[in-house]
Symmetry: C4
Subunit: 237 residues, 4 copies
Amino acid sequence: MSTLNPAYAAIRQQAYEANMQLPALGLVLFTFGNVSAADHSLGVFAIKPSGVPYEKLSPENMVIVDFDGNAVEGDLRPSSDTKTHAVLYKHWPKIGGIVHTHSTYGTAWAQSQRDIPLFGTTHADYNTVDIPCAPPMDDAMIEGNYEYETGFQIMNCFNDRGLDYKEVEMVLVGNHAPFTWGKTADKAVHNSAVLECVAKMALLTEQINPQAPRLKEALKRKHWERKHGPDSYYGQS
Amino acid sequence: MSTLNPAYAAIRQQAYEANMQLPALGLVLFTFGNVSAADHSLGVFAIKPSGVPYEKLSPENMVIVDFDGNAVEGDLRPSSDTKTHAVLYKHWPKIGGIVHTHSTYGTAWAQSQRDIPLFGTTHADYNTVDIPCAPPMDDAMIEGNYEYETGFQIMNCFNDRGLDYKEVEMVLVGNHAPFTWGKTADKAVHNSAVLECVAKMALLTEQINPQAPRLKEALKRKHWERKHGPDSYYGQS
Amino acid sequence: MSTLNPAYAAIRQQAYEANMQLPALGLVLFTFGNVSAADHSLGVFAIKPSGVPYEKLSPENMVIVDFDGNAVEGDLRPSSDTKTHAVLYKHWPKIGGIVHTHSTYGTAWAQSQRDIPLFGTTHADYNTVDIPCAPPMDDAMIEGNYEYETGFQIMNCFNDRGLDYKEVEMVLVGNHAPFTWGKTADKAVHNSAVLECVAKMALLTEQINPQAPRLKEALKRKHWERKHGPDSYYGQS
Amino acid sequence: MSTLNPAYAAIRQQAYEANMQLPALGLVLFTFGNVSAADHSLGVFAIKPSGVPYEKLSPENMVIVDFDGNAVEGDLRPSSDTKTHAVLYKHWPKIGGIVHTHSTYGTAWAQSQRDIPLFGTTHADYNTVDIPCAPPMDDAMIEGNYEYETGFQIMNCFNDRGLDYKEVEMVLVGNHAPFTWGKTADKAVHNSAVLECVAKMALLTEQINPQAPRLKEALKRKHWERKHGPDSYYGQS
């Protein structure tokens, strides 16, 4: 392996550590997931190599890719979902990490082509809307530049619904599976685990009470604001 | 950190050990839960600091708070749910520990706004009524002193139903999640695990037999009394 | 502790090892289960002490009890379910071990007061009938010698249905939970794990296909006989 | 034990390692599963001995059997399912490994006698059809050479539906449980874990949306081809 550019050492390390959290959190079987970590000042991100088992990952074998999806540094082929990551980084400048998994409950909602309903405060601690499920893509998009178009499918869904990617950091791609993001790769992984937890609770809620109502407006606002508002009081500031 | 008052060492230790049981029992994801341990003679309780991961907890970083919710000792901000704990300790003098989690099945029942039905002896070993689900609060309570009012919502639910907090040591807050308590923090954690177990069994019971009947009166009394009655014969006295 | 009778050392060891398998197999929360091991030639069995956590068990603190339920040796109080074990050993001479758990899926079927339907070969490898659910007891039995009567409730269920306890080694007690048995305590624990597995599969089967048919007669006979018949060819020996 | 033929050392090792993955992946309870590894040039396969716990397995105690099901080398009795493996190896020359488990969700679909519907890309990454459920066998086949006929039941199912065993590497046997295969024993185990994952997701999908549509044609083709087509770009080539 040729000498690695030290400018990418930080995102290599972040991407490596975040990828290793996926099996520890029970979010992936085999290699069914990937995390990337971006450096917007350099216009690149580090991403998991495709199909490599987690136990063989290292900061050094992460692949460096630019925001057009071109490999910049690394001997291995990057994740097959790399272009989806690239599109999102290119258009959403405030995100520093992206995660894609096929986690069980999140994927089941995606396969069902339904948004995950906002039933409780666990969900409202993260966002105040149903978690959106983008529709499956048109055939032309699928047969064309599929992974690239997946990024646009996600962005179109957010545009159509008037959602802000800085407030809603998770989405389901219909028939496929979840994507999440955040200010850092670590936070994006956190969001993937929360999505899976909320997805399971929502299914159970509908099973216990098929007429379960959505969370009321005042509770939505309260839980969001105590964690994310200007006067938030959750955590250590 | 300044010198810690040795009078609080015991509740610091109890709160620390009880908090550490939550991830071990599978009751929390990340920091979605908190335990406190009270000393009624001193009028204070020790509680988990807000948003701090379990692996960074220690007896020393528990926060000491009085029964009006004022911080007494500690450099960190206490759990965002601290005022709920304070209200319950202030009004329910016989409890020494309180737990709040977002455990999966308990939370699903809370989101469903249904009491957990008393279907079997596992449940009756702990109490002889459906586990109550307090209704979501009025908007005025939510927009006011939310966590403080959550304590009153729990107490009002018990008063309205004529329940004794010394006999029924668990509740669901509608749209939110479970709270449990007990004579000690350790027993309160035990009750959280039992609630989650009973919540899962109750959902499965309804799935197997939507017409499943409640536990009959004689079995309720028998299981309660063999564990808690004057002639109890469970455990080592 | 006084000197222990060496004649009971073997059943103490068997009961201890079998009890320790319950948490390892995920069949118990806290102390919600107990195993005993009998020596019919001596007319006694060793059983878990009541309410003692698994990590504090040892061969030495198992309690020796006779088949009328009288303590023979041991400083601790035996399991609260001891009399149920005693009745079964007294009337069913071929069993050497009994297990009681509140395992999640088995208990849910018991709470549903339904037999577990025989849907597949996993079940037929163990027995060729629906796993019976004994009805909840009459109030007079509950208010009388409850745990003693539980043993008779199980035996009555087997008599009423014409079942042989040597062929069907598991039962649900309605509203309560499963009991299993076997030639040894180890085999009885094995049966508890199988019951839980079959109970989960049966619920899932009904969810996937509410009209799922029972296993056909020829498959029942084949799977039973290849494991238990005179020409069995499963396993070594 | 007599001296082992070194020609079989490789398949002994492969079969041993692949069998040991089953409990690690949560696919088996006790001994409810078996893996074999074949050497087509020698006309034999190595398979798990019947009823031996996984912790007692070694490369040396795998049993060597020919494609007619005759034991060639080994002191132990081979898996009771050996003849099913033999039939498949004899007729399907391109497979090097076969796995049989009673994994929970896969078995529940088999007991339901339903194909597992193709709902998403997780499934399409492996094959582009519903996972077939072969019907339970005729009584004559069951009462005759049962395990041998099971192999034909699987092949007949594939012939009837026009499926290619090199493209669809998994099947459910109705009322029984899953079988999977692959170019190697390791890949066959991989397929067993994927089947279980897809089986669980499919049940959840139907629970979330009973009208969930099948995956659209374009997505099926795309996901299959990016992993298996001539221009595949998944993994490191």
